[in-house]
C-alpha cells in the first residue's frame, strides 16, 4: 500500500502536476509563517536580560542550523531510496537538496559569526557547534563537487547517494568527537550557545521561524526538482504533451 503510493507519487508526470498545484499554497503558507515569526521574534519577544537585542539573530541562526542537519538526512535517505529501488525522483530529490542544504549551513555559519561578535568580541570562536557546522559545510561541498564532476547524471546520482549515506553515518561521530574536543580544549569557558531555558514568548516565534524554513525548503526543493526533472526527461512523451497544453 505504502509502496504503491510511493511509486505513484514518484512517477514524473504525476509529481510534476501535483507539485505545480502545491506551490502557490506552500508559498502562501511560507509567507504567513515567516511574517508571524519575524514579527514575533523582532518585535513582541522581550529582549534578553543578558544579551539585549543581539540575541534576536537566533530566529535565523537556530532554524538554519536545524535545517542544515535535517536536509542532510533527507538527502541521504532519498539517495538511499534511489539507490535501492532505483526511483528516479528520489535521486532528483537527493541532489536538489544538496545546494539548499549547503546554503542553510552557510547561513547558519554567517549568523553564528555575527552573533559571536557582540557575545565573544570576535567573529569566530572554535565553538563545538560552529565547528561541526563548518565540517558539515565541507560535506555538502563534497556532495555538490562530486555531482558536478561526473558527467552521466544517473551515475552521478548514485555516487552522491553513496557519499551521502557515508556522511550520515559519520555526522554523529564527527559531531561527538568535535564536542569532546571542545570540552577538552576549552575547559572552563562557558559556551553561550547553551541556553539553559528559553522564555515561552521567545520560543513561539522561533518555532514559527523553524516552520517557515521547513516550508521554504520544500518550495525550493520542489522548484529545483521540477527543473531537474524537465532537464533529465526532455525526451519523454509527457513533456511533449505538457508543451502541447501550454500552447
Amino acid at each position: 500500500m505504502f509502496m504503491r503510493f510511493i511509486y505513484k507519487f514518484s512517477s514524473p508526470p504525476y509529481f510534476y502536476a501535483i507539485s505545480g498545484k502545491m506551490l502557490p499554497w506552500l508559498t502562501a503558507l511560507f509567507l504567513v509563517l515567516l511574517g508571524y515569526g519575524l514579527y514575533g521574534g523582532l518585535v513582541t519577544a522581550p529582549a534578553d536580560y543578558q544579551q539585549g537585542d543581539s540575541f534576536r539573530i537566533i530566529y535565523v541562526h537556530v532554524p538554519a542550523a536545524w535545517m542544515s542537519m535535517f536536509i542532510y538526512v533527507v538527502m541521504a535517505i532519498s539517495g538511499g531510496i534511489g539507490l535501492i529501488w532505483r526511483i528516479k525522483l528520489a535521486e532528483i530529490v537527493s541532489i536538489s537538496s544538496a545546494s539548499v542544504g549547503a546554503s542553510f549551513t552557510f547561513l547558519a555559519l554567517v549568523t553564528g559569526s555575527l552573533w559571536g561578535k557582540p557575545m565573544w568580541g570576535t567573529w569566530w570562536v572554535w565553538d563545538a557547534r560552529l565547528t561541526s557546522e563548518l565540517l558539515l559545510l565541507f560535506l555538502y561541498l563534497g556532495v555538490i563537487g562530486l555531482y558536478s564532476g561526473i558527467e552521466d547524471k544517473r551515475t552521478a546520482s548514485r555516487a552522491v547517494a553513496i557519499l551521502a549515506l557515508v556522511g550520515v553515518v559519520n555526522i554523529p561521530i564527527i559531531h561527538y568527537s568535535v564536542e569532546w574536543w571542545n570540552t577538552l580544549h576549552q575547559g572552563a569557558t562557558v559556551t553561550k550557545l547553551d541556553k539553559p531555558s528559553i522564555h515561552i514568548d521567545m520560543l513561539i516565534p522561533l518555532l514559527f521561524m523553524a516552520g517557515a524554513f521547513k516550508v521554504y525548503y520544500l518550495i525550493a526543493l520542489l522548484l529545483r526538482s521540477r527543473n531537474e526533472l524537465l532537464e533529465r526527461e526532455q525526451n519523454a512523451k509527457w513533456i511533449d504533451e505538457l508543451l502541447e497544453e501550454v500552447k
Binding site: R86, E151, D152, R232, Q234, N235
Partner: protein, 204 residues
Amino acid sequence: MTNLNKLEAYQLSCVRDDRVLFSELDFTLNSGHVLLIEGANGAGKTSLLRILTGFRRAESGNLFWNEELIENSVHFYQDTAYIGHNNGLKVALTAQENLRYAQALSSTTLSIDEAMAQVGLDGYQDTLVRLLSAGQQRRLALARLLCTHKPLWILDEPFTSLDRASIQLFEQFIETHANQGGLVIMTSHHETQLPHTLMQKIHL
C-alpha cells in the same frame, strides 16, 4: 564444460546522455552459440557489453543467467570472463604472475604452461608483460581465458591490434570454446567469419 548454460535478455534498453541507444532488445544465447554485436561507432556496442557484464544497469529490462537475475546470481561472475579495450594485465608483472593471480581468483582448468603453449607464448613465462608486444599481450589475455573456468566469454573488439595470424588463432579458440559448449559474446567492426559455429547477430 558439459553443463548447459543460457543467457537471456528481456526488453533491454539503454539511455546515455539523454539519447536512447537501443530499446526493447531481446535475445537468448545458449551453450555453443556465438553472439556477434555489430554497429557503427557510438551505436552503443560497448554500452551493451557493459550491461551484459553487469557493470552498468540497463535503463529498463532484465538479464538472466541460467534463469537467475544476474544482479542476484552468485554464479554469473564465477562463469563470466571479460576482455575489454584493456587486457587487464599488470605490465610490471611477468606473464606467469599475471595468470597465477587470475587463477587464484577463479576456478582453474588448464595449467599455466599449457595455456601459454596453446596461444603460442611458450617460453615467455618469466617475461615482464611490459616487454611483450601488443599482440602478445592480447594473446596472454586469451591464455587467461583458457586457464580459468569461464563458460561465458564477453569480448570487446578482441581483434584490435592483432595481425592476421593472431586473429586466426583467436577465431579458432572462439570456435573451439563454442563447440565445447561455451558461450561467446563479442563486438567487432570488421567482418568476422566463424563458419564452424552457430552464430547469432545483433545489429545496433
